[in-house]
Symmetry: C2
Subunit: 343 residues, 2 copies
């Protein structure tokens, strides 16, 4: 079975198109896009230019879509997403984008989604401030929701994002097969923000506790699945989807699921991979290519696909709390879309 087949399996038959999935929240996503570019801070045209630079690059807007679909799937009457849900969507994307802008400074990245990064177009200094500005815009959005519980949820998310990055930075080139730590890092880096959105949308609808907790579970599991697929793509090397070179995690000494599956076998290939990482040979192109080959030839990809599927199943189970609707269908199909993100 090829990597591609392993990843997509039977799902490929129903290969969901993202545009089609997001059709039920199309109009709201247009409003989100406009709002993302609004200067909430002052009347300076330059700040609008900065926001334009950041958001013109586009992006799939998965997080706002999750918020809006969850909002519509849990509203009464079904299908309604009001002003507060638009703000919640914007806030979620602002936090995500702020962390990307800071990441780009840290990695000295020149391109993001095919557009020049702020650090490249202007300066590192302005890019740090732009990230801060996006966090500030998110805070203004948060305050407009007038909901202390949601303020608490997003406060924790900001902490999780930092904790995840700091932990990852400190674990560079540390060879570990601690699955709890790996999952925790995926929650911090990715799933926590997903879950904040899918949990807060029903809170704004005054939905019952069970709906809120199951939709939180959907967000966590979908987010972990998303991160696992992202880690997998770094190994399988679909650079079109990634927008970065294959093996860039390994090059930076970040050990993820595909490598961990091989490492925990403790056989010959595992020892060789261990050596390539510890000796930092993976920082060179020859070393990283050898490491990727070892991972691909020793089941790292297949095991990781199975892991992603486990989280996908849990995300799908959580959706059973919702009454049937086209919004629930989209949330369900988004799981499949994630799993075939390489195509």
């Amino acid at each position: 079975m090829s990597t591609q087949q392993a990843l997509t399996g039977s799902i490929i038959a129903s290969s969901p198109d993202l545009g089609l999935l997001l059709e039920p929240v199309k109009d709201e996503l247009v409003q989100v896009e406009k709002f993302l570019n609004s200067n909430l801070v002052d009347d300076s045209p330059f700040i609008e230019e900065l926001l334009g630079q950041v958001f013109r690059a586009g992006g799939k807007r998965i997080r706002p879509a999750l918020v809006l679909l969850t909002a519509k799937a849990t509203s009464n009457p079904r299908g309604h997403a009001g002003r507060l849900h638009i703000i919640l969507s914007v806030l979620t994307e602002l936090i995500h984008t702020a962390s990307l802008v800071h990441d780009d400074v840290l990695d000295s990245a020149s391109l993001r989604r095919g557009q020049e990064t702020v650090n490249r177009k202007f300066s590192d200094k302005l890019a740090v401030l732009t990230g801060d500005l996006l966090f500030a815009q998110a805070s203004v959005c948060l305050s407009r929701l007038m909901n202390p519980v949601i303020v608490g949820i997003y406060g924790q998310v900001l902490g999780d994002l930092c904790a995840g990055e700091i932990r990852q930075m400190r674990q560079q080139f540390v060879v570990s097969t601690d699955w709890n730590a790996y999952t925790q890092k995926s929650i911090w880096k990715t799933a926590s923000l997903f879950a904040a959105g899918t949990q807060s949308a029903p809170i704004l609808n005054a939905a019952g506790d069970r709906v809120v907790s199951e939709m939180k579970s959907y967000g966590i599991n979908l987010g972990v699945c998303f991160q696992i697929v992202d880690d997998l793509l770094d190994v399988t090397g679909n650079s079109h989807a990634l927008g970065k070179a294959a093996g860039s995690d390994l090059t930076q000494g970040v050990i993820t699921a595909p490598a961990m599956y091989v490492l925990e076998r403790k056989d010959g290939p595992a020892q060789r991979l261990d050596h390539l990482i510890r000796s930092r040979a993976v920082t060179g192109s020859e070393g990283v290519d050898e490491a990727l080959e070892i991972i691909r030839n020793n089941g790292g990809v297949e095991c990781t696909v199975e892991l992603a599927r486990q989280y996908a199943r849990r995300a799908r189970e959580a959706l059973t709390v919702l009454a049937p609707s086209q919004y629930r269908d989209s949330l369900d199909s988004l799981i499949d879309w994630l799993l075939i993100r390489t195509t």
Copy 2:
């Protein structure tokens, strides 16, 4: 009259000691210090180490003190500051510190308050994340206040801090004597956070609207006064109080009140100063020394002292809304302390 005399004038007679002024909130400041070092994000000892590195350097904790004194001056019965006011104090200092940590990365500073900066001790990357972490800790504090109005106030403050920095960066080496723009920048960079604290403390006490708005006015005017004194110190060169070399604003092309007073005279010295800035001669030690001499010898210092005094007077007027108490006395004496910050 020497610079020093011009600045302190008759106030020197009553030269207030900061420790004495803060005596009424001494116990609460100990709690604030402990809270500042608490990891609110996860259970990682490394994050505690990072916070320790940042806060061990100390600092005057003016902002927490302002919150606590205002809390006690507006509480009923007088003299009470509870758990929420401690959190508000911590939150205010966290935001201030986060912006300092990011500033240090941007300026590649090695020392802050006599301690190694995070960027120096660890890396730029970790310092950007540490600033983000402090903002995250502030968000967690904000959520604990459970007060949507205060969330709105601090959301705006974050925006103001970014707007102020971005505006300043874009105005480097631009010779301007636009006093409105100068005052606005001082509000964004400094006064907005002061006022958030002095306004939110009475809000938490459910004080009346007039008390809240006058205490906001106190914070704004005290904050602008603080920034003006800071700008002045950069010219008079009391590097002990500053912790940086004299003329560092000019070197970076940042034009503040002392230079603006000379520039707007449009006479010979003004033209020379204008030339030194536009030609960027001020980036060299000879150029900046000449520019500082021109400012000092042409009334830049005296006029700026008078400007600071105007804002000090407005801050003092706002305090008349408070009933007499030792806390009001301290808030009043803090104004004097600011004015003689060079000693």
